[in-house]
Symmetry: C2
Subunit: 229 residues, 2 copies
């Protein structure tokens, strides 16, 4: 099945692991396709497993729930985010929020831009119209935020009782969700570059959200200012 017959170089994962990976991707792709064609609830796991020719038991050894397979591309990105947060060198004078924002953008760049962006688009649109998936997505965010908070405390030595780092993380996640929403609402098939643009725009809108007032027609400058971080 593999097109390149190059001999195994260093660090090549074992056959067992490659098979597992291939099963995982087949499940994700087939699931996203089926869930998009019909509804999430309109596709049973039995059918999905039949298509991929895998037993339901195996499905649950790969994913913890029906929702998880649909959100896998999204979750992969946040796992990359945690890695970035763990390993990126950071300038000392940066604010925590800036560090977090850069880690998100870096994580996006580590994803395979082609197929990944397309899959993320599918699962974002799916999440937007499927309560069960949205719930799972939000729960996963909570887990990720706690993991990220752990890293922050380790790397920056913050006060464990300080609410602000945690708030900064929640704000980051909220802004990124706004970006995803904007991105997925674009007509046709938006690219990974569009996502980066929309993410910057959402991050730029954060400060203004604290001071925004309602009475006046509200100047719209801040949110479209997609300038440097």
């Amino acid at each position: 099945m593999a097109t390149d017959s190059a001999p195994s170089s260093v660090l090549r994962p074992t056959l067992r692991e490659r098979k597992k990976q291939r099963t995982r991707e087949a499940l994700i792709d087939t699931a996203l396709r089926l869930f998009t064609q019909r509804d999430f609830d309109g596709v049973t796991l039995d059918e999905l497993c039949d298509r991929v020719e895998v037993s339901k038991r195996t499905f649950f050894r790969t994913f913890a729930s029906k929702e998880e397979v649909a959100m896998a591309p999204y979750e992969d990105m946040w796992r990359a985010f945690i890695n970035e947060l763990e390993s990126r060198p950071v300038a000392a004078e940066c604010s925590i929020l800036q560090v977090l924002q850069e880690a998100v953008l870096a994580a996006m760049r580590t994803m395979d831009t082609g197929e990944w962006a397309h899959r993320l688009l599918s699962c974002t649109r799916l999440a937007g119209r499927t309560p069960a998936i949205e719930a799972h997505c939000r729960y996963f965010c909570g887990v990720t935020v706690r993991a990220a908070l752990d890293v922050l405390h380790r790397r920056f030595g913050l006060d464990p009782h300080d609410l602000r780092p945690r708030l900064a993380l929640d704000i980051l996640v909220a802004a990124f969700h706004r970006a995803l929403e904007t991105w997925a609402d674009r007509p046709q098939d938006p690219t990974a570059e569009h996502l980066a643009t929309d993410t910057l725009a959402a991050f730029a809108a954060i400060p203004g959200s604290l001071t925004l007032t309602g009475a006046a027609p509200a100047d719209r400058a801040p949110q479209s200012r997609v300038g440097t971080l």
Copy 2:
């Protein structure tokens, strides 16, 4: 069962509605008690329904899911929040975020402080250790935020494409969750007053979360400044 035999005054709900309400409360109380004693997963709906002497069919006419009954006190508060947002008079010069914060505090005050606080405590602690409940809770927040956004647009005539009101709502919810966490971590049984205090503290920590830096030992003043809104 009712202790006061005063004749029905104006606006008394019908017997049918009172019965329904009593069933609802019995389900909530029994569920919170059972879920707290054993685990959420350790209690089946069949058992819960047996205890309350209600058919499972009736349970699902009252609540949409097993998770919902556990989070009912929490959800009731957010529904009150929407009402406040809809009906409260607001000073023109206030920021949107301030309006939202005051609506949250007002909603808390409309809840029956005695029993409600105790129930909210149970479901907060439950949510903290039950993934399924946390997921449901977060999904519900998303629905509430969208409803609130609707009210904001209607009352303040904001640009539908402006990301900032939505961000402000997400930040509000995040801060309130921090407050709940702090509150539920207090030893013994914290009261509704404690919750108001913790909520103010969480709100006060918002601005500092955007500018917080990691290198220095981080001044802790802003988060403990529980001053006026």
